[in-house]
Symmetry: C2
Subunit: 401 residues, 2 copies
């Protein structure tokens, strides 16, 4: 047996991971309807004006502004309505002095007109229109290219495609767009005792949890979860498993980084690549390894479900988002009083799960082997390595799942 004798601080682990990952450069073309919340892989320059024509910004009457100067309720301007312009149509004639055209919001301005009088400021008697207010040239008119001008740089490479940015692409007539590929994350649970849900449990066996929790997080944070079959604790099985994952961008194994003689994961990784750290001063989650295999980052997560999941939140998610080109994740934070004293382990940065009950943070942590430490929690607090006790009543920041 080989105990983990040396651990590194959480911050150092983060730095090592950060120095050994890089944003993905693979690009794929997706339809606009599938592009939301993806990361743009191209600059977008407009090839047209939006709107492509000057249009009415209000329902009312297109006029020559000078025909309205001096108009008031007491002395309305009187104009002759020569046509009705609906959206999607263009005017048949050029407006002459003394004329106006009824126009709908969004319809193209007729030639000769330079302003719109709101319908609320007018009164119609057949084709005779009374205008109660002056308008200045360009009033209530959206000029051609007011929103987007041809040749304008609209979106930049690495922009996150929010709904509004999707809208800008649609406005320019794009049907599909180049985005960064989502990193493929190979997920594999190791351990002789691990059985996939759906199989019967033999004595000594338990169901695989980590493959499912990691996959759920990966899919949420910009990755494609690629599940692989469970590997047994033999060098041959682990080597075969590693080889099977080399088509993917990131390898996340769980289990096998503790100290049992059959924990051969580290040996297998060292054979195919480099182990960059093993053991972090966090609780839970100490027996975690990180390395590189064939140019890919390798995360060796603890086998215990809660350790695995808290380390996934703390270390895998930030790394994955950076690889995917996504902005850093900011979990929702609730600042509430702690409902019971928590004693921490000095020297280890602690992730302590919390359930919110009536506005109070109640400890939810049972043990790192218990998935219910997480599944019955609403979030977690972090307790720094140099803090040993957080008293009941202290305000804590709960990061919500």
């Amino acid at each position: 047996m080989r105990p983990i004798r040396d651990t590194i601080p959480l911050q150092e682990a983060r730095q090592i991971i950060d120095a050994n990952i890089e944003p993905i450069d693979r690009v794929e073309r997706v339809p606009l309807t599938a592009a939301a919340h993806r990361v743009l892989a191209q600059d977008v320059v407009s090839t047209l004006d939006v709107p492509p024509f000057a249009r009415a910004a209000m329902d009312g009457y297109a006029v020559r502004a000078e025909d309205t100067f001096g108009a008031s309720r007491a002395e309305p301007a009187r104009l002759h309505c020569v046509e009705q312009i609906f959206t999607g149509e263009i005017a048949r004639r050029t407006l002459q002095p003394g004329e106006c055209a009824e126009i709908a919001t969004g319809a193209p301005m007729p030639a000769g007109a330079d302003a719109v009088v709101m319908v609320e400021e007018s009164d119609a008697d057949g084709e005779a229109i009374r205008i109660f207010t002056p308008v200045y040239p360009k009033q209530h008119v959206a000029r051609q290219g007011a929103d987007i001008q041809q040749g304008q740089h609209i979106l930049r490479i690495r922009d996150l495609l929010t709904p509004a940015k999707i809208g800008a692409l649609a406005a320019l007539g794009h049907t599909d767009v180049d985005v960064l590929a989502r990193p493929r994350v190979a997920i594999l649970s190791t351990g002789n005792e691990i059985v996939a849900p759906g199989q019967p449990l033999a004595p000594g066996q338990i169901y695989d949890v980590n493959r499912f929790t990691i996959a759920a997080l990966v899919e949420r944070h910009g990755g494609v979860a690629v599940p692989h079959s469970t590997a047994a604790d033999t060098v041959e099985d682990l080597s075969r498993a590693i080889h099977g994952c080399l088509r993917d961008d990131v390898l996340v194994f769980s289990g096998g980084s503790s100290v049992g003689e059959r924990d051969l994961m580290l040996d297998a990784v060292a054979t195919h690549g480099d182990v960059l750290f093993h053991g972090i001063a966090v609780k839970p989650g100490k027996p975690m390894a990180f390395g590189r295999i064939g140019g890919r980052p390798f995360f060796g997560m603890p086998g215990y479900p809660t350790s695995c999941l808290t380390n996934s939140y703390a270390l895998l998610v930030p790394a994955l988002r950076r690889i995917a080109g996504l902005p850093p994740w900011s979990p929702r934070v609730l600042t509430v009083p702690l409902g019971a004293r928590v004693v921490s382990t000095p020297g280890r940065h602690q992730f302590y799960t919390i359930r919110i009950e009536e506005g109070v943070a109640m400890p939810a942590f049972k043990s790192s082997g218990d998935i219910t430490s997480m599944s019955r929690a609403d979030g977690y607090i972090e307790i720094a390595a140099n803090t040993d006790i957080v008293e009941k009543g202290e305000m804590v920041e709960v990061r919500l799942f």
Copy 2:
């Protein structure tokens, strides 16, 4: 032309919408790998103990605790190691007094043993093991059912399936699970001038934006976006469009709720159902309608892209999440100083788009017809109906997209 003469306050619009929607009750069964972030439609009671056997919580030696009482570095207890128990295996024999068994974390405890000595507290010389510390009964042992007990209520109907809750389902051996169906949201843009991206633009035409922005939001907030073809501004076309959407759960149309004579949407809705409001005291987004058609909520969004999208954030997203059974959405909020004075329209609740530049909230709003009012913004501030000016330097809460 029929101007909107009466508007209702935003809060009243929210109440009317809330009183006319209800959580979906349709259920579907999905594989566990597709269940993350869905809403559980069943209670889950455990049919097994997790772990299903007492197991070692540490790597070390399974012992009879009483054999270690009084042990110390100076006077170690000496035990005879009779076997090695790996995970996934069960012990071949019952431990007798004076015996121990090497055991890996997660391996089943052998009969006769009641505690585990950590490997760090031991020393091996072949089968002769020296134990340097006493352990008490049950120490470093996870008892059968310590995580989850058979018959225990583990998850509740309407629980949101976070990664940890997915893990709990996996731990119980579930391969699939009943979740609430995602509401199908029919999305349709109306207007003679609207053309789908990919088509050439004839004079007077513009590309459809709202179908794409609404779909992106809907998919993000628990719905299935069901795009329908654009409908022209005729009663026949709109009626046909409404009929075509009645297989869906929610109808979201954009355009056609303003005042032009061809804005026949309200007439079409009134023919098939009820218009519950038309016109809200918000800016942008005043010409919005809401109603019910065939028992389904109908959202008549403004045609202008920015008006449509801000109202979708403000009114559609909260409604959709409630229909989908999701918890309310809390956007990330940045509290920063305003970089320039903003003059608001008294009497209308304003959604004002903001770009964050070097920690300062810069106005990004151009006009409600401009998608770039949104696509170049990072979020928006809300200005209450009774506020007319927000001064430069005032702290504002920017809700990020």
